[in-house]
Symmetry: C2
Subunit: 533 residues, 2 copies
C-alpha cells in the first residue's frame, strides 16, 4: 500500500482558523467541565460569581437565588436570579453567547470574573450536552426582556432564538439565567452546596437561597454593609513586560514619552519619568511611536531600575479581620477565632493582599487534619487543593510552635480550621478551571507571615487554656485538702475551723486558681466575655 | 467616602471582545510558559513536533536541527530547521502569527499538533518577553522566502516586518524558525535535552541534532523507514454529543437523513442508518435541516442504541513492538526488553491504541523506583507525572505478580524501565500544556492490560533467571562431589574412576543444569544470543 504524498500546497489548503468557541467546546476541561459533577458546580459558580460582581459594582446588597432541579437522570435545570443592575438589552445576547467577551479583562481591579469566559462557557457546555439554548430574563428597571440564545460555535457569535419584551410596573431590576445541562448532583466536600456555603462565608453581605434536589437551604445576610468598591488602577512599571510596553508605546494617545510614562503607569510622576528617560538616554519629548526596538529595551530596563513605591492598593477589596472572624465563627462554631489582614504587597507589578483566620475548639472535630478553606477574590476554591500555594503555605508553617502537632510536609492536626483569602487584581490561577493559585515567592511569603501572626495569637489562647486546665486540676487537689489542713491549723492557732476554711478558700481564689464557674480564660468569643476573663 | 454607583448602561459600555492572543498572552501558563525553564522546553517542543508532523505527512525521513544559544543571562536564541515540505508563502505568516490557526483541529487523525496554538504560542511568548519578531525561512522547492513576523495581539493577526525572496538553485525544501526569548537552560530530567532524547527514542526514523549551550548531541536515525501514514476518519456515532449533532445537521450538504448518517459518520451503512431512523421514529428522507430539537434528541439516543463496530483504526500510527523494543533497549542498555502493542480501542468515540515496553537488568540501576517514560502520539511527556493516567496505570498494576517488589500506591522497585505510548486521534490532555493524559476508564483499562501482558512475559524471564541462578549454585555443589562419588562407585562397579566422572558430568548436563559458559537463559538481547541459549 503506497502512501499518498502530501505536498506543501495541499497542506496549505487545510490551514484554517479555529473559533475560540470551537476550541473551548473541544477543550472544555480547561474551563472546568471535565466531568458531570464538576460541570454542575462550575455552572452554578460562574453564574453566582457574576451576580455578586454585578451587585457590588452597582452598590446593591446581593440577593441571589439558585435552583438546581433534576429533570432526568444526569440532566439538570440550573437557574440563578439576582437583584443586580441587569444587563442592557443590546448586550444581553453577547454577554452570554460569545466567548472572550466581557468587561473585566482590560482593567486592573479586583473582581471575581476576569476574561468573559465563565458564563458563556457554561452556555456552551449546556448547549453541547443538551442542545438547548440559554434563557435570559433581564431588566435595568425599564422594560423586561426575555431572550433565548444559542452560540454559533463556528463563528463564536450569539444567535437569538426568541425575544419577548414586557412592561415592568414594579421597576424590577436584575438578571435570571436558566440553562439545561448534563450534570451529576452530589453533596459533600466538593459540591454545589459546599460552594455556596463557603461563598456565603466569604461574602457575608450576600443573601443566598439554594433550592436543590434535596431541599431548600438559606444562607442569611450576616452584615448589612457592602465593602468599599475597589478602584481601577494603571499598570505598575515593575510588572510590565517588554512586548506589552512596545504595544503601549504604539497605541498611546500621549504626544511624548514624558506624558506616556506619567499617564499610562501608576506611581510615575514627572520627576520619576524624567529619571527613567535619562537612564534610558531618551529625550522626554520623543514621540512614543518613534521609539525604536533598541530604545524600548533601554526604556524597559530603566523602568525596572528606578526606585518606585508599590502600586496603589485601593484596587483591592479585602474582607477585613472583623468579617473574616464572623464568617469563620459562624461556619465552624469554634470557641476561639482570630483573623489577620496583612498590608497589601506586590507580585509581578500586581497588588495583592493576604488575609487569614484561624478557628479553634468548640464544635470543630479533634480527629485528623485541620480543615482548610481557600478563597481567591472572595470565591471558594474546592479542587486541586494540593497544588495550591494556600495549602503549601500551611504545610510549610511550623505549627508545633503554636501548640499543634504536625508531621513534616502535612497539615497540622487537631481542633483547627484555617481560612486563607487571596485578594488581587489578577489571580494567577494554575489553570483556567480557577481552582488553585500558583506559587509565586511573594505570595507564599505573605501567606506564611499571615499564618504566623495568627498562629502566635492563637497559641497564647491555646497555651493559656492548657495552663488553666492544669491549674484547675491543682486547685481541685488543694481544695480536697482544705478541711484537713483547717483542722490542723485549728489546733495550732485556736481559730475556728470554719473561718480557717473560708480564709484558705480566699487564698486559693486570689492565687488565680479560679473556681469552675468563672474559670474561662481570655477567649474573644461572646460567651467567655460574659462569664468574665 | 461615597462610592460612585455604576449603572447597567455604564457596565455595558465596558463590555468588549478579548482577542484570543490577548487571552493567551495574559494566561501564558495555559500554554506551558509558567516559568523560564519550561518556556524554553515548550518552544523547542512545539517547533520540533511541527517539524516531525510535516515531514511525516510529506513522507520525508525527518532531519531536524535544533540550536539553543544563550545570548545574555535569561535570554536565548532558539532555532530549528527541518527538511520537510515547507510552507507556501501566502500562509507562512498566518501559521506563526495567528493563534488558533492550523490544519489539524477539524480532522480526526493522529498527529502531534492539534489546534494551531503551539508554534504561534511560542512566537507570542518570545515577542512578549523580548519584543523581537520571529524569523522564518521556508521553501517548498521553488524560491526561498525569508520573513520576519510579529503578532498584532489586539487583533490576533500576523504583521510582516520584512520579506526577502531568493533563488533556490539546489531546490532546498523545509522550514527554519528562529526566535529570541526569555528562558533558562538546565539539563536533567525535565530539560530540552531530555525532551529530545525521548523524542528520538519514540521516533527512531528521525535524525535529530542538538546544538546546546553545553555542546553538540546527535541522535542518529535507528531505522530508515517511516511508519504508515495515518488516515483521516469521520466521527463515530457513539462519540458525538447532542450539540455537535445539531450543528452537523444544520451544516451538512446531505439532502436527507439517510445520506447524512451514512456520509458523515464512520461505521454507519445503509442498514444501520435505516435502523437508527426507525428507532428515532424519523423518516429516512427527511431533510436534515428540518429535524427539530426534540427529533434531534431522539436521533441522538437512537445513535447510541444501535449496535456498531468500533471506528476504523487506520487513523492511528502506533510504533509497533519492534520499534518500541529497539528504542527502549538503545536508551536503557537493558539486558531484556519486551514490548506489547494492544489492539485499538475506543473512548468517547475516539479510537486509541496503547503500547508499552518493559526493560530489565543490564545497565539499569537497581536502586529505587522503576524509570517511567510516557508518550502521547510519539511526544514525550515530561511534567505532571503523578496526575497522568500512565502513572496511575503503572501504580495500579500488581508488580509483585511479576517478581518485582512494590509498596501499595507506588511504582515498582528494581532494575526496571517502563515505556507507555498513548496513540489517538485526540489526546485528552489534562491541560493545554499537554503534559498529562486524563484518566478515562477505557484508557486506564487498556494500559493495565498492556502492562500485564508485558509483565507476564518479563516475569518468565526474571523467574527463569532466578531459577538458573539457583540451579547454578546446586550444580556447583554437585560438581564438587563428583570425584568423591566416582571414587565410591569405582569400588562398587569396578568401572574406571575417570569414566565414571565423565558419565556423571554428562548426567549433570542432561539434567538441564548447564555449565557457566552456556548457562544463560532465554534472553532476547544480542549478547545472550552470542553466548548461546
Amino acid at each position: 500500500m503506497a502512501d499518498r504524498i502530501v505536498t506543501a500546497e495541499e497542506l496549505a489548503q487545510q490551514l484554517r482558523a479555529v473559533s475560540v468557541a470551537e476550541f473551548f467546546e473541544k477543550n472544555r476541561h480547561l474551563l472546568g467541565y471535565e466531568n458531570p459533577t464538576k460541570a454542575l458546580i462550575t455552572i452554578v459558580k460562574e453564574f453566582v460569581d457574576n451576580a455578586l460582581d454585578a451587585c457590588e459594582e452597582a452598590r446593591i446588597l446581593p440577593d441571589v437565588k439558585v435552583l438546581v432541579k433534576e429533570i432526568s437522570p444526569d440532566r439538570f435545570r440550573v437557574r440563578t436570579e439576582d437583584n443586580g443592575p441587569g444587563i442592557v438589552e443590546e448586550k444581553l445576547a453577547l454577554a452570554f453567547g460569545k466567548l472572550l467577551y466581557g468587561s473585566k479583562f482590560h482593567r486592573l481591579k479586583m473582581s471575581r470574573g476576569t476574561q468573559g469566559l465563565g458564563a458563556s462557557g457554561s452556555v456552551l457546555y449546556s448547549q453541547l450536552t443538551t442542545g438547548k439554548p440559554v434563557r435570559l430574563v433581564s431588566s435595568t428597571g425599564k422594560d423586561i426582556h426575555e431572550i433565548e440564545v444559542t452560540i454559533d460555535v463556528n463563528k463564536n457569535e450569539p444567535r437569538i432564538v426568541s425575544h419577548k419584551q414586557e412592561r415592568n410596573p414594579n421597576k424590577w431590576h436584575g438578571l435570571k439565567i436558566e440553562v439545561e445541562t448534563e450534570g451529576r448532583y452530589i453533596e459533600g466536600r466538593q459540591s454545589v452546596l459546599e460552594y455556596l456555603r463557603q461563598t456565603a462565608m466569604c461574602n457575608p453581605y450576600a443573601k443566598i437561597v439554594f433550592e436543590g434536589p434535596n431541599g431548600r437551604v438559606e444562607f442569611e445576610r450576616a452584615v448589612k454593609e457592602l465593602p468599599p468598591l475597589p478602584k481601577e488602577i494603571k499598570p505598575h512599571p515593575y510588572g510590565v513586560e517588554i512586548g506589552l510596553l512596545r504595544r503601549m508605546l504604539s497605541t498611546t494617545s500621549s504626544k511624548n514619552l514624558l506624558g506616556f510614562l506619567t499617564s499610562e503607569f501608576s506611581r510615575v510622576g514627572r520627576g520619576t519619568a524624567l529619571q527613567i528617560c535619562k537612564l534610558a538616554k531618551l529625550e522626554p519629548n520623543k514621540k512614543p511611536y518613534d521609539v525604536s526596538h533598541e530604545e524600548t529595551e533601554r526604556l524597559h530596563k530603566s523602568m525596572q531600575m528606578v526606585k518606585l513605591i508599590g502600586p496603589p492598593t485601593d484596587c483591592l477589596s479585602p474582607l477585613g479581620e472583623k468579617l473574616l472572624e464572623e464568617g469563620l465563627r459562624k461556619e465552624t462554631r469554634a470557641e476561639f477565632v482570630v483573623a489577620v489582614t496583612r498590608p497589601p504587597s506586590v507580585y509581578r507589578g500586581n497588588p495583592f493582599q493576604i488575609e487569614c483566620a484561624l478557628a479553634f475548639g468548640g464544635e470543630l472535630t479533634a480527629e485528623g487534619s485541620a480543615q482548610l478553606f481557600r478563597f481567591a477574590n472572595k470565591m471558594p476554591l474546592l479542587y486541586h487543593t494540593s497544588d495550591c500555594v494556600t495549602t503549601e503555605s500551611v504545610v510549610e508553617t511550623d505549627w508545633r510552635r503554636y501548640a499543634f502537632s504536625q508531621s513534616s510536609g502535612q497539615l497540622p492536626q487537631g481542633q483547627l480550621a484555617i481560612l486563607i483569602h487571596f485578594a488581587s487584581v489578577w489571580v494567577p490561577y494554575t489553570s483556567e478551571g480557577k481552582q488553585a493559585i500558583a506559587n509565586y515567592p511573594e505570595i507564599m511569603k505573605e501567606m506564611k507571615l499571615a499564618l504566623q501572626e495568627a498562629g502566635r495569637q492563637l497559641a497564647i489562647y491555646v497555651r493559656q487554656k492548657h495552663k488553666m486546665h492544669e491549674r484547675q486540676l491543682r486547685k481541685e487537689l488543694f481544695e480536697k485538702y482544705i478541711p484537713e489542713l483547717a483542722e490542723s491549723l485549728e489546733k495550732l492557732t485556736d481559730d475556728k475551723k470554719e473561718k480557717l476554711i473560708a480564709e484558705l478558700e480566699k487564698i486559693v481564689k486570689k492565687s488565680g486558681v479560679k473556681s469552675e464557674e468563672d474559670g474561662k480564660t481570655t477567649g474573644n468569643d461572646k460567651e467567655s466575655e460574659k462569664t468574665g476573663k
